[in-house]
Subunit: 363 residues, 2 copies
Amino acid sequence: MMFDSNLSERKKQILKAIIDAHIAFGEPVGSKYLAEKENISCSPATIRNEMAELEALGYLEQPHTSAGRIPSELGYRFYVDSLVRRYTMTTREIEEIDRSLHKKLSQIDQILAEASKLASSFTNYTGIAVKPKTERVTVSRFEGIFIDEYNFILVMIFPDGNAKTKTVRHQEVVSSAELAVLIASLNEKLTGKSANEVSVSAIMDIEKRLPTCSSIVSPVIKTVYETLSEIGGGDVRIEGVNNLLSYPEYADVSSVKGLIDMFEHKDEILSLVSSDETIDDKVNVYIGKENSVNIMNNSALVFRTIKRGSDVVGAIGVIGPCRMNYSKVISTIDRLARGIDDMLNSSGQDFGDDDNDYTKRNR
Amino acid sequence: MMFDSNLSERKKQILKAIIDAHIAFGEPVGSKYLAEKENISCSPATIRNEMAELEALGYLEQPHTSAGRIPSELGYRFYVDSLVRRYTMTTREIEEIDRSLHKKLSQIDQILAEASKLASSFTNYTGIAVKPKTERVTVSRFEGIFIDEYNFILVMIFPDGNAKTKTVRHQEVVSSAELAVLIASLNEKLTGKSANEVSVSAIMDIEKRLPTCSSIVSPVIKTVYETLSEIGGGDVRIEGVNNLLSYPEYADVSSVKGLIDMFEHKDEILSLVSSDETIDDKVNVYIGKENSVNIMNNSALVFRTIKRGSDVVGAIGVIGPCRMNYSKVISTIDRLARGIDDMLNSSGQDFGDDDNDYTKRNR
DNA sequence: ATTAGCACTCGGCAAACAAGAGTGCTAAAC
DNA sequence: GTTTAGCACTCTTGTTTGCCGAGTGCTAAT
């Protein structure tokens, strides 16, 4: 990725200055400004020459003849890859992130929901949190709670220790003993099986064991099936879209429309974030049309995956204009994601005592 | 509410024609158009006179001299209250709503989530679904599922038959027998109590019964407490905002911004929908600034509450421009809400058999 | 290789103008 | 007295015109 060999030191300096200025002010930057404000030791004319070459190389572009230059997507890419210096967070910022993370969060879903809010509020862009699709979801144990003859609660416990309940109401009388048989059968036949591994013969077996109320078996199985697919399905949370509206790149309605479309086409973000190109344990940056999915027309996506053990269980990140404060965003997302990683991989959400050992891991 | 006495028949006819035309085309409507296209049997000049009077009465307004007239909020209000004829849905539309409602929906949360999508897609405006705050949430029964010495699952069953689980991980060893004691104690001390009725003495009582692992009691109670507040908390779902962006009233970014603010200020919608002014069993229409909350600047809110028995458990509706097809929207929301009402109040979500008895009730 | 100077280009802005739509008013017709 | 025709008036919208300024590219001098 480090292809800085082509560019002279001065070109790099100028490119960086242009991008910095453009990120700061959002407007095309001209040679005169660079010569005066940024400390570049040569005249506007020289800078112009360099800029022309940078444009020929594809790092810059001109909105029109006589405006300054703005970075191209390739320019941003180069900037992110080799020029951007890691933003050093103030201790206040670090503390704030740590504190926010320390709120009690039990389920992965809640963590993600909260994470997208955090990502949004810390960066002032739009935060996203993703739970990817996982094909193989299985129940590790079933439990049944008898309510009355017409109602019981089916509890499904998953390998990660989380659980999900479904209330089952039925027409037929089911005794407490029959419920126990049903649950035992489910445990015997369905544990460890994913949604599409449930065989018809297994269902028929269970029905045989419940001669008096065999008709409830198939709806129960159906419920299990639905729950498995539900859990396995991906989910995307988007928070703080209104943050983006303050940025001039989203000033016209059509771009806003594209933005709002994200809400309805969460799938695309899902597939993007969980695609093969994504690198774990590292902040990924997609700029503009780089990604295969083209919802992001003028936008960039910065995210990092979240792992429990070696499984990717989610991702958090932000969406914003290409002209984004990459330095700060990357640092923030990195810290947030690592914090969550470590929370998940520590002993769990133990109550009460305020351990913060997740700051110890990695770096 | 029926204050049509003031207005002559012809004025009403003209007012209705203006609003209809404005709803259809979104532009100010002039006297010439009315005389030609709508069948009003008098000349443009006469219509102009009538329009001037309607404006004086506050039902119409002029964006500027020499544009047509547009309805004022009062005009819309009058229209909705007395002029609008109930849109008669085609059998196809009715069937579609019924079919959509008939998908398996178990939890109230899921119903609402789905309902907002339906409301949005049927009306082409933005759908909202609200679960109001309920102060008194209680657990009717606790169950514990033993996983291992350091983990168990706490199941809380609510009076409506739904359940919620929380995985509790702890440092101390808790045996299966101790868990049973804990659960029995919870059932004895906490059932029927709402979040702020949990007394310290009850907690201490429970701790006494578990001499070997008393330290897990308080975190468990905390979990219960949090779950109760979580369930009791309101929730607002908004779906299909991008529908609105096609309408010219949301053409400039500032209005869109107000729209997006709804996402972050769901509380206000919540309080609006669950306010005292809201009438059950009837479609409520708030136009423009009528409501106390002023998030809706140029927008109207149409919704109806959803009841289980005599309790209001939610509301669904749509948000759109004041210039809204009230006729169709009101009918759609009414049918949707009644459908949901009846689903909730029927025998429950019985599996398999495709009863549609909820169409029988009311009307 | 760098820089100063200058002509050139193009977007943005404002003023000027024409067209069109719709009204309000007055006077005539029913 | 109510309705209608006619006309002047107002105000928005779209188009044209011209000008300003910012920034470039090129050439020639350093």
